[in-house]
Symmetry: C2
């Protein structure tokens, strides 16, 4: 009896890629730009979304699907500002597309009406989420200045697979050993064309530029 | 033909547990206390080890095995102070025992002579390393104040499986919304008896207490 190899892994990967592509296409047709936010725990993904929601209040329509291993603390922080659904992985270290789609399916017709931006806040983890396509149009890696300017080279996949890098907590720059120039150089060694956007989600610096960047990205999506 | 279920997963788990127990026993017999340091990227594991090495210079013998996905940046920071070997996972999100043993096997006889503490600095990831026993005597989770005081409940396994929690970067407390009392309460909801040790690896505060804690833990190990 001959033994044949069964390419299960490859089939699974191509099935997942097809599902993510189909989902991306559907969101594009609805005019929704989907952003997958990845970072270490505590880099400030939720704070960035709070600042974005405040900047856009009453003018731009956004919704958030927020991933966590446990608790709905992040959803509670966002709920007063924007439509939000908590995705709880129950232990898993990253989000996968089916859970994202389940969360999206829970948004009401009113929340979906005219929706322009869908943010998916991934589980706080700078490693595993980089390997999972959630059907997003844009992946954004958030790094806070307190984490150190050596991180792009140490966690290359998160930066190589991202379309933009937000450097958060720049209000703490006077108190920590961190160089915006060094982190930009390191990030560009990993991905030469990575836009780097310094912000303070806490104090508001750079939030207008971040929001402009997102609106331009959506305009390009809608135009094509 | 009847189909039988094959409990591969269970066998693998018990084999891994046995290997970790055997390794722990070997280190115990050599009088070496092994500490597995886990945290988010940039919480300050390497800085804590640098501060520990400076505190103990010439008096206590320690060595470090430092895990990273890519680069040997952390090993380079530690090399002037203590014997160190870089463990590069090449993409994997956590360390496993065989790689730790390989690194340990590369220490020279001179470096092993009278060794009292072996630190294993895990990959920066507050999720996956919590599920892997590296044969350590003590797991220590490091949380920096810039990450927020809500993290124990959000990443419960890291805190539930740890034997101590170091709160790092307390020099930044005046500039960030973080309460030592709140984080301690949250940590104790996850593990009621978790020792919480506030430090600033950067400025030196609390390092003497951290070192005392480690020395007492080793005395208990050697006595039993």
């Amino acid at each position: 009896m001959s033994i044949q190899s069964v390419p299960v892994q490859k089939d699974l990967q191509s099935a997942r890629r097809a599902a993510a592509d189909a989902w991306r296409k559907e969101l594009t047709e609805r005019g929704i730009l989907c952003i997958n936010l990845i970072s270490s725990p505590g880099a400030g993904k939720t704070s960035l979304l709070q600042a974005t929601a405040r900047q856009w209040a009453g003018t731009v329509r956004m919704a958030v699907l927020v991933g966590d291993i446990a608790t709905d603390r992040d959803a509670q922080r966002l709920a007063p500002l924007v439509p939000v659904r908590q995705l709880t992985t129950g232990g898993a270290c990253h989000l996968e597309l089916p859970l994202v789609q389940t969360g999206f399916g829970q948004l009401t017709l009113e929340e979906l009406e005219g929706l322009e931006f869908l943010f998916v806040e991934n589980v706080g983890n700078l490693v595993c989420p980089a390997s999972h396509d959630l059907g997003e149009h844009m992946r954004v890696v958030v790094l806070s200045v307190t984490e150190g300017d050596d991180k792009p080279g140490k966690y290359p996949k998160a930066f190589r697979t991202s379309d933009a890098c937000v450097i958060n907590k720049i209000d703490l720059l006077p108190y920590v050993p961190f160089s915006l120039e060094a982190v930009t150089t390191d990030a560009h060694l990993v991905r030469g064309d990575l836009p780097v956007l310094p912000v303070s989600a806490f104090k508001g610096d750079g939030i207008a530029q971040w929001c402009d960047f997102l609106r331009k990205s959506r305009q390009e999506l809608v135009r094509t």
